[in-house]
Protein backbone atom coordinates (compact mmCIF):
# COMPACT_ATOMS: atom_id res chain seq x y z
CA UNK A 1 0.00 0.00 0.00
CA UNK A 2 1.24 3.40 -1.02
CA UNK A 3 1.04 6.38 1.34
CA UNK A 4 -0.45 9.63 0.04
CA UNK A 5 -0.01 11.77 3.13
CA UNK A 6 2.51 11.15 5.89
CA UNK A 7 2.79 13.35 8.95
CA UNK A 8 6.00 13.40 10.97
CA UNK A 9 6.07 14.77 14.49
CA UNK A 10 3.07 16.97 13.79
CA UNK A 11 2.17 19.48 16.51
CA UNK A 12 -0.56 22.06 16.17
CA UNK A 13 -1.43 24.92 18.48
CA UNK A 14 -4.17 27.47 18.97
CA UNK A 15 -2.28 30.15 20.84
CA UNK A 16 -1.19 28.33 23.99
CA UNK A 17 -3.49 25.37 23.49
CA UNK A 18 -1.61 22.33 22.26
CA UNK A 19 -4.25 20.69 20.03
CA UNK A 20 -2.21 18.05 18.18
CA UNK A 21 0.60 16.36 20.07
CA UNK A 22 3.26 14.70 18.00
CA UNK A 23 1.06 12.81 15.56
CA UNK A 24 2.66 10.43 13.04
CA UNK A 25 0.09 9.05 10.66
CA UNK A 26 0.23 7.52 7.18
CA UNK A 27 -2.82 8.06 5.02
CA UNK A 28 -2.98 5.33 2.34
CA UNK A 29 -3.57 6.29 -1.27
CA UNK A 30 -6.94 5.64 -2.95
CA UNK A 31 -8.60 4.45 0.22
CA UNK A 32 -10.94 5.88 2.78
CA UNK A 33 -9.41 6.65 6.16
CA UNK A 34 -11.72 7.55 9.01
CA UNK A 35 -10.59 9.55 12.02
CA UNK A 36 -12.68 8.94 15.12
CA UNK A 37 -12.47 10.17 18.67
CA UNK A 38 -14.39 12.19 21.23
CA UNK A 39 -15.17 15.89 20.77
CA UNK A 40 -12.18 18.14 21.10
CA UNK A 41 -9.61 15.39 20.55
CA UNK A 42 -8.09 17.18 17.54
CA UNK A 43 -9.63 15.23 14.65
CA UNK A 44 -10.65 18.32 12.70
CA UNK A 45 -7.43 20.14 13.51
CA UNK A 46 -5.43 17.16 12.21
CA UNK A 47 -7.07 17.21 8.78
CA UNK A 48 -6.95 21.00 8.67
CA UNK A 49 -3.19 20.65 8.99
CA UNK A 50 -3.22 18.51 5.85
CA UNK A 51 -4.28 21.34 3.53
CA UNK A 52 -2.87 24.25 5.50
CA UNK A 53 -6.30 25.46 6.61
CA UNK A 54 -5.22 25.37 10.27
CA UNK A 55 -3.02 28.44 9.91
CA UNK A 56 -6.01 30.60 8.82
CA UNK A 57 -7.21 30.74 12.40
CA UNK A 58 -5.75 33.65 14.35
CA UNK A 59 -2.91 32.56 16.62
CA UNK A 60 -2.76 29.06 15.16
CA UNK A 61 0.55 27.47 14.21
CA UNK A 62 1.95 24.13 13.12
CA UNK A 63 5.21 22.32 13.82
CA UNK A 64 6.48 19.19 12.15
CA UNK A 65 6.10 17.83 8.67
CA UNK A 66 3.18 16.87 6.47
CA UNK A 67 4.43 15.02 3.41
CA UNK A 68 2.14 14.97 0.38
CA UNK A 69 3.61 12.45 -2.11
CA UNK A 70 6.89 12.79 -0.24
CA UNK A 71 7.03 16.59 -0.34
CA UNK A 72 6.59 18.63 2.84
CA UNK A 73 3.68 21.04 2.39
CA UNK A 74 5.10 23.20 5.17
CA UNK A 75 8.54 23.50 3.55
CA UNK A 76 9.60 27.13 3.08
CA UNK A 77 8.48 28.46 -0.27
CA UNK A 78 5.52 26.12 -0.54
CA UNK A 79 2.37 27.95 -1.57
CA UNK A 80 -0.62 27.17 0.65
CA UNK A 81 -2.96 28.00 -2.25
CA UNK A 82 -1.32 25.32 -4.42
CA UNK A 83 -1.58 22.79 -1.60
CA UNK A 84 -5.30 23.44 -1.30
CA UNK A 85 -5.93 22.82 -4.99
CA UNK A 86 -4.44 19.35 -4.50
CA UNK A 87 -6.04 18.65 -1.16
CA UNK A 88 -9.72 19.61 -1.19
CA UNK A 89 -11.97 19.96 1.80
CA UNK A 90 -15.65 19.57 2.66
CA UNK A 91 -16.88 21.09 5.90
CA UNK A 92 -19.26 20.04 8.63
CA UNK A 93 -21.96 22.51 7.71
CA UNK A 94 -22.81 22.77 4.00
CA UNK A 95 -21.41 26.13 2.87
CA UNK A 96 -22.38 26.84 -0.73
CA UNK A 97 -21.89 30.50 -1.71
CA UNK A 98 -25.33 32.15 -1.34
CA UNK A 99 -24.67 34.78 -3.98
CA UNK A 100 -23.82 32.20 -6.63
CA UNK A 101 -25.99 29.84 -8.67
CA UNK A 102 -25.61 26.08 -8.49
CA UNK A 103 -23.64 26.31 -11.71
CA UNK A 104 -21.30 29.00 -10.39
CA UNK A 105 -20.90 27.22 -7.07
CA UNK A 106 -19.78 24.05 -8.79
CA UNK A 107 -17.05 25.78 -10.76
CA UNK A 108 -16.28 28.51 -8.20
CA UNK A 109 -12.79 27.11 -7.68
CA UNK A 110 -12.09 27.34 -11.41
CA UNK A 111 -13.76 30.67 -12.14
CA UNK A 112 -12.14 32.38 -9.17
CA UNK A 113 -8.74 31.20 -10.29
CA UNK A 114 -9.19 32.57 -13.77
CA UNK A 115 -10.71 29.82 -15.92
CA UNK A 116 -12.96 31.58 -18.45
CA UNK A 117 -13.51 29.01 -21.19
CA UNK A 118 -17.23 28.26 -21.09
CA UNK A 119 -16.81 24.88 -22.73
CA UNK A 120 -14.41 23.79 -20.00
CA UNK A 121 -16.69 25.16 -17.30
CA UNK A 122 -19.85 23.57 -18.74
CA UNK A 123 -18.07 20.21 -18.98
CA UNK A 124 -16.73 20.47 -15.46
CA UNK A 125 -20.15 21.37 -14.04
CA UNK A 126 -21.74 18.30 -15.58
CA UNK A 127 -18.87 16.00 -14.69
CA UNK A 128 -18.54 17.16 -11.09
CA UNK A 129 -22.25 17.16 -10.37
CA UNK A 130 -22.50 13.65 -11.82
CA UNK A 131 -19.57 12.51 -9.67
CA UNK A 132 -21.35 13.93 -6.64
CA UNK A 133 -24.59 12.19 -7.75
CA UNK A 134 -26.42 15.49 -7.80
CA UNK A 135 -26.73 16.08 -11.53
CA UNK A 136 -30.12 14.46 -12.05
CA UNK A 137 -31.64 16.44 -9.19
CA UNK A 138 -30.46 19.87 -10.28
CA UNK A 139 -29.76 19.70 -14.02
CA UNK A 140 -32.90 21.66 -14.92
CA UNK A 141 -32.27 24.19 -12.21
CA UNK A 142 -28.63 25.20 -12.50
CA UNK A 143 -29.43 28.91 -12.30
CA UNK A 144 -31.06 28.61 -8.89
CA UNK A 145 -29.18 29.88 -5.86
CA UNK A 146 -26.77 27.45 -4.24
CA UNK A 147 -28.68 27.74 -0.98
CA UNK A 148 -32.12 27.09 -2.49
CA UNK A 149 -31.66 23.29 -2.40
CA UNK A 150 -31.94 20.93 0.57
CA UNK A 151 -29.17 20.48 3.13
CA UNK A 152 -28.17 17.08 1.77
CA UNK A 153 -28.09 18.47 -1.75
CA UNK A 154 -26.07 21.44 -0.57
CA UNK A 155 -23.48 19.12 0.96
CA UNK A 156 -23.23 17.15 -2.29
CA UNK A 157 -22.90 20.47 -4.10
CA UNK A 158 -19.97 21.26 -1.81
CA UNK A 159 -18.43 17.89 -2.65
CA UNK A 160 -18.95 18.60 -6.37
CA UNK A 161 -17.35 22.01 -5.86
CA UNK A 162 -14.35 20.41 -4.18
CA UNK A 163 -14.06 17.77 -6.93
CA UNK A 164 -14.26 20.36 -9.71
CA UNK A 165 -10.74 21.60 -9.01
CA UNK A 166 -9.54 17.99 -9.48
CA UNK A 167 -7.82 17.44 -6.16
CA UNK A 168 -5.91 14.28 -5.33
CA UNK A 169 -7.07 14.15 -1.74
CA UNK A 170 -10.49 14.91 -0.33
CA UNK A 171 -10.75 15.82 3.35
CA UNK A 172 -14.21 15.64 4.89
CA UNK A 173 -14.84 17.17 8.29
CA UNK A 174 -17.92 15.41 9.71
CA UNK A 175 -19.72 15.90 6.40
CA UNK A 176 -22.91 14.14 7.51
CA UNK A 177 -23.41 15.48 11.01
CA UNK A 178 -25.94 18.05 9.81
CA UNK A 179 -27.79 15.61 7.54
CA UNK A 180 -30.60 13.08 7.93
CA UNK A 181 -29.97 9.31 7.48
CA UNK A 182 -31.08 9.24 3.83
CA UNK A 183 -28.81 12.10 2.83
CA UNK A 184 -26.04 10.47 4.88
CA UNK A 185 -26.47 7.19 3.01
CA UNK A 186 -26.21 9.05 -0.30
CA UNK A 187 -22.96 10.68 0.73
CA UNK A 188 -21.52 7.41 1.99
CA UNK A 189 -22.36 5.69 -1.33
CA UNK A 190 -20.72 8.59 -3.08
CA UNK A 191 -17.51 8.26 -1.05
CA UNK A 192 -17.41 4.58 -1.93
CA UNK A 193 -17.55 5.41 -5.63
CA UNK A 194 -14.90 8.09 -5.31
CA UNK A 195 -12.22 6.11 -3.53
CA UNK A 196 -10.79 4.51 -6.68
CA UNK A 197 -9.70 7.93 -7.84
CA UNK A 198 -9.22 9.92 -4.67
CA UNK A 199 -7.56 9.56 -1.33
CA UNK A 200 -10.29 10.28 1.19
CA UNK A 201 -9.95 11.24 4.84
CA UNK A 202 -13.18 11.54 6.78
CA UNK A 203 -13.57 12.85 10.30
CA UNK A 204 -16.62 11.41 11.98
CA UNK A 205 -18.34 11.24 15.34
CA UNK A 206 -20.35 8.32 14.14
CA UNK A 207 -18.57 4.99 14.68
CA UNK A 208 -21.06 3.08 12.55
CA UNK A 209 -20.22 5.42 9.72
CA UNK A 210 -16.51 4.76 10.14
CA UNK A 211 -17.17 1.02 10.21
CA UNK A 212 -19.35 1.23 7.08
CA UNK A 213 -17.21 3.34 4.78
CA UNK A 214 -13.62 3.35 5.94
CA UNK A 215 -10.83 1.01 4.89
CA UNK A 216 -8.61 2.33 7.64
CA UNK A 217 -9.47 3.94 10.93
CA UNK A 218 -7.48 6.16 13.24
CA UNK A 219 -8.52 6.73 16.83
CA UNK A 220 -7.48 9.98 18.46
CA UNK A 221 -7.67 11.05 22.07
CA UNK A 222 -6.57 14.33 23.69
CA UNK A 223 -4.58 15.41 20.65
CA UNK A 224 -2.71 12.13 20.32
CA UNK A 225 -3.06 9.36 17.79
CA UNK A 226 -3.88 6.33 19.90
CA UNK A 227 -4.28 3.66 17.29
CA UNK A 228 -4.33 3.31 13.52
CA UNK A 229 -5.11 0.26 11.41
CA UNK A 230 -7.47 -1.59 9.10
CA UNK A 231 -11.01 -0.65 10.13
CA UNK A 232 -12.12 -4.23 10.75
CA UNK A 233 -9.23 -4.85 13.10
CA UNK A 234 -9.68 -1.57 14.98
CA UNK A 235 -13.31 -2.35 15.61
CA UNK A 236 -13.04 -6.07 16.27
CA UNK A 237 -9.68 -6.43 17.86
CA UNK A 238 -8.25 -3.12 19.09
CA UNK A 239 -4.76 -3.28 20.56
CA UNK A 240 -5.18 -0.45 23.04
CA UNK A 241 -7.54 -0.51 25.96
CA UNK A 242 -8.51 3.13 25.35
CA UNK A 243 -9.66 2.33 21.82
CA UNK A 244 -11.73 -0.58 23.04
CA UNK A 245 -13.36 1.54 25.71
CA UNK A 246 -14.26 4.23 23.19
CA UNK A 247 -15.60 1.82 20.59
CA UNK A 248 -17.70 -0.05 23.10
CA UNK A 249 -19.15 3.24 24.29
CA UNK A 250 -17.68 3.23 27.78
CA UNK A 251 -16.61 6.85 27.39
CA UNK A 252 -16.71 9.66 24.86
Amino acid sequence: MEDKIVTQGLNAYFGDVHAIKGVDIRIPKNAITAIIGPSGCGKSTLIRCMNRMHEIVRGARVEGKVMLDGKDIYAPGTDAVMVRTKVGMVFQKPNPFPTMSIYDNTVAGLRLTGVKDWKVLDGTVEKSLKLAVLWDEVKHNLDASGVSISGGQQQRLCIARALAVEPEVLLLDEPCSALDPIATAKIEDLLFDLKDRYTIVIVTHNMQQAARVADYTAFMYMGELVEFGVTKRIFENPEKELTEKYITGRFG
Binding site: T85, F91, T99, L112, V125, L142, D143, V147, R161
Partner: protein, 296 residues
Protein backbone atom coordinates in the same frame (compact mmCIF):
# COMPACT_ATOMS: atom_id res chain seq x y z
CA UNK B 1 -53.14 44.76 46.72
CA UNK B 2 -52.16 41.24 45.79
CA UNK B 3 -48.93 40.46 44.02
CA UNK B 4 -50.51 39.83 40.66
CA UNK B 5 -52.23 43.20 40.55
CA UNK B 6 -49.02 44.92 41.65
CA UNK B 7 -47.03 43.23 38.92
CA UNK B 8 -49.64 44.20 36.38
CA UNK B 9 -49.49 47.79 37.53
CA UNK B 10 -45.71 47.88 37.20
CA UNK B 11 -46.01 46.43 33.70
CA UNK B 12 -48.51 49.11 32.69
CA UNK B 13 -46.37 51.87 34.16
CA UNK B 14 -43.25 50.69 32.30
CA UNK B 15 -45.12 50.40 29.00
CA UNK B 16 -46.68 53.81 29.51
CA UNK B 17 -43.32 55.39 30.24
CA UNK B 18 -41.76 53.83 27.15
CA UNK B 19 -44.62 55.06 24.99
CA UNK B 20 -44.34 58.57 26.44
CA UNK B 21 -40.64 58.62 25.55
CA UNK B 22 -41.39 57.54 22.00
CA UNK B 23 -43.91 60.35 21.65
CA UNK B 24 -41.47 62.84 23.16
CA UNK B 25 -38.85 61.78 20.63
CA UNK B 26 -41.25 61.90 17.71
CA UNK B 27 -42.84 65.26 18.44
CA UNK B 28 -39.82 67.42 17.52
CA UNK B 29 -39.18 65.36 14.41
CA UNK B 30 -42.75 65.61 13.16
CA UNK B 31 -42.90 69.27 14.14
CA UNK B 32 -39.73 70.13 12.22
CA UNK B 33 -40.90 68.24 9.15
CA UNK B 34 -44.34 69.84 9.25
CA UNK B 35 -42.92 73.32 9.80
CA UNK B 36 -40.35 72.98 7.02
CA UNK B 37 -43.04 71.82 4.61
CA UNK B 38 -45.49 74.51 5.74
CA UNK B 39 -43.11 77.44 5.41
CA UNK B 40 -40.75 76.01 2.80
CA UNK B 41 -43.17 74.58 0.25
CA UNK B 42 -44.63 77.97 -0.89
CA UNK B 43 -41.12 79.17 -1.71
CA UNK B 44 -40.49 76.32 -4.11
CA UNK B 45 -41.15 76.77 -7.80
CA UNK B 46 -39.25 76.16 -11.00
CA UNK B 47 -37.55 79.54 -10.96
CA UNK B 48 -36.46 79.02 -7.34
CA UNK B 49 -34.85 75.69 -8.21
CA UNK B 50 -33.09 76.90 -11.34
CA UNK B 51 -31.93 80.48 -10.62
CA UNK B 52 -28.85 81.42 -8.71
CA UNK B 53 -28.68 83.06 -5.30
CA UNK B 54 -28.07 86.77 -5.16
CA UNK B 55 -28.33 87.45 -1.48
CA UNK B 56 -30.37 90.62 -2.00
CA UNK B 57 -33.93 89.38 -1.86
CA UNK B 58 -34.73 90.60 -5.40
CA UNK B 59 -37.34 88.80 -7.47
CA UNK B 60 -36.00 85.99 -9.67
CA UNK B 61 -33.65 84.75 -7.00
CA UNK B 62 -33.25 80.99 -6.39
CA UNK B 63 -31.03 78.27 -5.02
CA UNK B 64 -30.05 76.48 -8.25
CA UNK B 65 -26.34 77.10 -7.77
CA UNK B 66 -26.56 75.81 -4.17
CA UNK B 67 -28.24 72.58 -5.30
CA UNK B 68 -25.56 72.12 -7.96
CA UNK B 69 -22.88 72.97 -5.38
CA UNK B 70 -24.15 70.41 -2.87
CA UNK B 71 -24.33 67.75 -5.61
CA UNK B 72 -20.78 68.54 -6.73
CA UNK B 73 -19.40 68.64 -3.19
CA UNK B 74 -21.05 65.34 -2.31
CA UNK B 75 -20.02 63.84 -5.66
CA UNK B 76 -16.34 64.75 -5.36
CA UNK B 77 -16.30 63.76 -1.68
CA UNK B 78 -17.74 60.34 -2.60
CA UNK B 79 -15.13 59.95 -5.31
CA UNK B 80 -12.43 60.19 -2.62
CA UNK B 81 -14.28 58.96 0.45
CA UNK B 82 -16.04 55.84 -0.82
CA UNK B 83 -13.03 53.94 -2.24
CA UNK B 84 -10.72 54.92 0.63
CA UNK B 85 -13.36 54.04 3.23
CA UNK B 86 -14.23 50.77 1.52
CA UNK B 87 -10.63 49.61 1.25
CA UNK B 88 -9.92 50.67 4.83
CA UNK B 89 -12.87 48.55 5.97
CA UNK B 90 -11.67 45.61 3.91
CA UNK B 91 -8.18 45.95 5.32
CA UNK B 92 -9.30 46.18 8.93
CA UNK B 93 -11.70 43.26 8.60
CA UNK B 94 -9.69 40.89 6.41
CA UNK B 95 -6.06 41.77 7.06
CA UNK B 96 -6.25 43.74 10.29
CA UNK B 97 -5.74 40.96 12.81
CA UNK B 98 -2.64 42.67 14.17
CA UNK B 99 -1.66 45.70 16.18
CA UNK B 100 -1.76 48.02 13.17
CA UNK B 101 -5.30 46.87 12.35
CA UNK B 102 -6.40 47.48 15.93
CA UNK B 103 -4.87 50.96 15.81
CA UNK B 104 -6.61 51.80 12.54
CA UNK B 105 -9.89 50.55 14.00
CA UNK B 106 -9.42 52.74 17.08
CA UNK B 107 -8.70 55.89 15.08
CA UNK B 108 -11.64 55.15 12.82
CA UNK B 109 -13.93 55.16 15.83
CA UNK B 110 -12.39 58.38 17.11
CA UNK B 111 -12.61 60.07 13.73
CA UNK B 112 -16.21 58.95 13.22
CA UNK B 113 -17.24 60.95 16.28
CA UNK B 114 -14.97 63.93 15.65
CA UNK B 115 -16.52 67.42 15.68
CA UNK B 116 -16.92 68.24 12.01
CA UNK B 117 -15.74 71.82 12.52
CA UNK B 118 -12.33 70.46 13.48
CA UNK B 119 -12.23 68.45 10.28
CA UNK B 120 -13.10 71.70 8.51
CA UNK B 121 -10.13 73.37 10.22
CA UNK B 122 -7.87 70.54 9.09
CA UNK B 123 -9.04 70.92 5.50
CA UNK B 124 -8.58 74.69 5.79
CA UNK B 125 -5.05 74.34 7.09
CA UNK B 126 -4.11 71.68 4.56
CA UNK B 127 -5.88 72.53 1.32
CA UNK B 128 -6.93 76.17 1.60
CA UNK B 129 -3.83 77.46 3.31
CA UNK B 130 -0.86 75.12 2.92
CA UNK B 131 -1.54 73.99 -0.65
CA UNK B 132 -2.70 77.53 -1.31
CA UNK B 133 -5.80 76.47 -3.22
CA UNK B 134 -8.01 78.93 -1.39
CA UNK B 135 -11.69 78.50 -0.53
CA UNK B 136 -12.83 76.00 -3.12
CA UNK B 137 -14.97 73.08 -4.18
CA UNK B 138 -12.01 70.75 -3.78
CA UNK B 139 -11.28 71.90 -0.22
CA UNK B 140 -14.93 71.37 0.73
CA UNK B 141 -14.99 67.94 -0.88
CA UNK B 142 -11.80 67.03 0.93
CA UNK B 143 -13.33 67.91 4.30
CA UNK B 144 -16.52 65.98 3.52
CA UNK B 145 -14.48 62.98 2.34
CA UNK B 146 -12.60 62.91 5.66
CA UNK B 147 -15.96 62.80 7.46
CA UNK B 148 -17.11 60.03 5.14
CA UNK B 149 -14.13 57.69 5.37
CA UNK B 150 -14.58 56.39 8.94
CA UNK B 151 -18.34 55.91 8.43
CA UNK B 152 -17.85 53.87 5.27
CA UNK B 153 -14.90 51.98 6.79
CA UNK B 154 -16.86 51.03 9.90
CA UNK B 155 -19.97 49.89 8.06
CA UNK B 156 -17.88 47.94 5.55
CA UNK B 157 -15.99 46.23 8.35
CA UNK B 158 -19.24 45.46 10.13
CA UNK B 159 -20.82 44.05 6.97
CA UNK B 160 -17.78 41.86 6.26
CA UNK B 161 -17.79 40.55 9.82
CA UNK B 162 -21.37 39.42 9.38
CA UNK B 163 -20.41 37.15 6.46
CA UNK B 164 -20.11 33.64 7.91
CA UNK B 165 -16.54 32.48 8.31
CA UNK B 166 -17.54 29.20 6.66
CA UNK B 167 -17.81 31.00 3.30
CA UNK B 168 -14.30 32.37 3.59
CA UNK B 169 -12.98 28.93 4.52
CA UNK B 170 -15.00 27.33 1.74
CA UNK B 171 -13.36 29.56 -0.84
CA UNK B 172 -9.85 29.27 0.58
CA UNK B 173 -10.16 25.47 0.72
CA UNK B 174 -10.81 25.47 -3.04
CA UNK B 175 -7.40 26.99 -3.60
CA UNK B 176 -8.80 30.45 -4.25
CA UNK B 177 -6.20 33.12 -3.42
CA UNK B 178 -6.98 35.32 -0.47
CA UNK B 179 -7.60 38.58 -2.35
CA UNK B 180 -9.95 36.78 -4.77
CA UNK B 181 -11.79 35.34 -1.80
CA UNK B 182 -12.20 38.83 -0.39
CA UNK B 183 -13.26 40.36 -3.71
CA UNK B 184 -15.60 37.70 -5.04
CA UNK B 185 -16.95 35.92 -1.98
CA UNK B 186 -16.70 38.21 1.03
CA UNK B 187 -17.61 41.49 -0.67
CA UNK B 188 -20.36 39.83 -2.72
CA UNK B 189 -21.98 38.53 0.44
CA UNK B 190 -21.54 41.81 2.31
CA UNK B 191 -22.82 43.95 -0.56
CA UNK B 192 -26.14 44.96 0.98
CA UNK B 193 -24.50 46.25 4.16
CA UNK B 194 -21.77 48.07 2.29
CA UNK B 195 -24.19 49.83 -0.06
CA UNK B 196 -26.34 50.85 2.90
CA UNK B 197 -23.34 52.31 4.71
CA UNK B 198 -22.22 54.18 1.61
CA UNK B 199 -25.65 55.74 1.03
CA UNK B 200 -26.06 56.70 4.68
CA UNK B 201 -22.64 58.35 4.69
CA UNK B 202 -23.65 60.36 1.62
CA UNK B 203 -26.83 61.45 3.39
CA UNK B 204 -24.76 62.46 6.39
CA UNK B 205 -22.29 64.67 4.51
CA UNK B 206 -24.99 66.28 2.37
CA UNK B 207 -26.17 68.17 5.46
CA UNK B 208 -22.77 69.14 6.87
CA UNK B 209 -22.45 72.89 7.35
CA UNK B 210 -19.59 73.75 9.66
CA UNK B 211 -16.68 72.30 7.65
CA UNK B 212 -17.96 73.99 4.46
CA UNK B 213 -17.79 77.40 6.13
CA UNK B 214 -14.03 77.03 6.36
CA UNK B 215 -13.43 75.30 3.03
CA UNK B 216 -15.94 75.71 0.21
CA UNK B 217 -17.03 79.08 1.56
CA UNK B 218 -19.82 80.54 -0.56
CA UNK B 219 -20.60 81.96 -3.93
CA UNK B 220 -23.62 83.65 -5.42
CA UNK B 221 -22.64 82.52 -8.89
CA UNK B 222 -22.91 79.39 -10.93
CA UNK B 223 -19.64 77.56 -10.58
CA UNK B 224 -18.35 74.07 -11.19
CA UNK B 225 -14.68 74.92 -10.98
CA UNK B 226 -12.74 72.81 -8.51
CA UNK B 227 -10.63 75.72 -7.32
CA UNK B 228 -13.36 78.36 -6.90
CA UNK B 229 -15.59 78.91 -3.86
CA UNK B 230 -18.97 77.26 -4.29
CA UNK B 231 -22.46 77.52 -2.84
CA UNK B 232 -24.16 74.70 -0.94
CA UNK B 233 -27.63 74.13 0.48
CA UNK B 234 -26.66 74.09 4.18
CA UNK B 235 -24.73 77.35 3.83
CA UNK B 236 -27.54 78.96 1.85
CA UNK B 237 -29.85 78.21 4.76
CA UNK B 238 -27.28 79.57 7.22
CA UNK B 239 -26.68 82.83 5.32
CA UNK B 240 -30.28 83.54 4.42
CA UNK B 241 -31.51 82.87 7.91
CA UNK B 242 -29.17 85.54 9.25
CA UNK B 243 -30.47 88.14 6.84
CA UNK B 244 -33.16 90.67 7.75
CA UNK B 245 -35.08 90.14 4.50
CA UNK B 246 -38.32 88.15 4.69
CA UNK B 247 -37.86 86.91 1.15
CA UNK B 248 -34.46 85.51 1.97
CA UNK B 249 -35.85 83.93 5.11
CA UNK B 250 -38.45 82.09 3.10
CA UNK B 251 -35.78 80.99 0.68
CA UNK B 252 -33.91 79.48 3.62
CA UNK B 253 -36.96 77.40 4.46
CA UNK B 254 -37.31 76.40 0.83
CA UNK B 255 -33.67 75.34 0.72
CA UNK B 256 -34.15 73.39 3.95
CA UNK B 257 -37.07 71.53 2.40
CA UNK B 258 -35.03 70.69 -0.71
CA UNK B 259 -32.15 69.43 1.44
CA UNK B 260 -34.45 67.35 3.64
CA UNK B 261 -36.09 65.83 0.56
CA UNK B 262 -32.69 64.92 -0.87
CA UNK B 263 -31.58 63.23 2.35
CA UNK B 264 -34.95 61.53 2.88
CA UNK B 265 -34.95 60.20 -0.66
CA UNK B 266 -31.56 58.60 -0.02
CA UNK B 267 -32.67 57.16 3.31
CA UNK B 268 -35.91 55.75 1.96
CA UNK B 269 -34.02 54.43 -1.04
CA UNK B 270 -31.72 52.55 1.33
CA UNK B 271 -34.69 51.03 3.18
CA UNK B 272 -36.34 49.91 -0.05
CA UNK B 273 -33.06 48.47 -1.28
CA UNK B 274 -32.62 46.55 1.97
CA UNK B 275 -36.17 45.21 1.85
CA UNK B 276 -35.59 43.97 -1.67
CA UNK B 277 -32.30 42.34 -0.68
CA UNK B 278 -33.84 40.58 2.30
CA UNK B 279 -36.23 38.66 0.11
CA UNK B 280 -33.95 35.87 -0.95
CA UNK B 281 -33.58 35.79 -4.71
CA UNK B 282 -34.52 32.49 -6.22
CA UNK B 283 -32.63 32.94 -9.42
CA UNK B 284 -29.13 34.26 -8.93
CA UNK B 285 -27.79 34.79 -12.36
CA UNK B 286 -28.64 33.59 -15.82
CA UNK B 287 -25.57 31.71 -16.77
CA UNK B 288 -26.53 28.25 -17.81
CA UNK B 289 -29.79 28.61 -19.71
CA UNK B 290 -28.88 31.84 -21.43
CA UNK B 291 -25.69 30.29 -22.69
CA UNK B 292 -27.48 27.13 -23.76
CA UNK B 293 -29.82 29.23 -25.86
CA UNK B 294 -26.88 31.16 -27.26
CA UNK B 295 -25.19 27.97 -28.33
CA UNK B 296 -28.31 26.54 -29.92
Amino acid sequence: MNRYAYRKLKDRAASGLALACVVAALVPLVYILAEVVRVGAPAINWEFLTSRTKGTGEPGEGIGNAILGTLLLVGYASLIGLPVGLLTGVYVSEYGNNRFGTTVRFFNDVLANFPSIVIGLLAYALVVDMLNVGFSLIAGSFALAIIMIPIVANTTEEALRLVPNSLREGALALGVPRWKTVMKVMLANARAGIVTGALLSIARIAGETAPLLLTAFYSNYWSASATEPIASLPLTIFRNYNSPSDVLLHQAWGAALVLILMVLTLNIGVRLFMMKRNRKPKVVKKTWKTRLSLRA
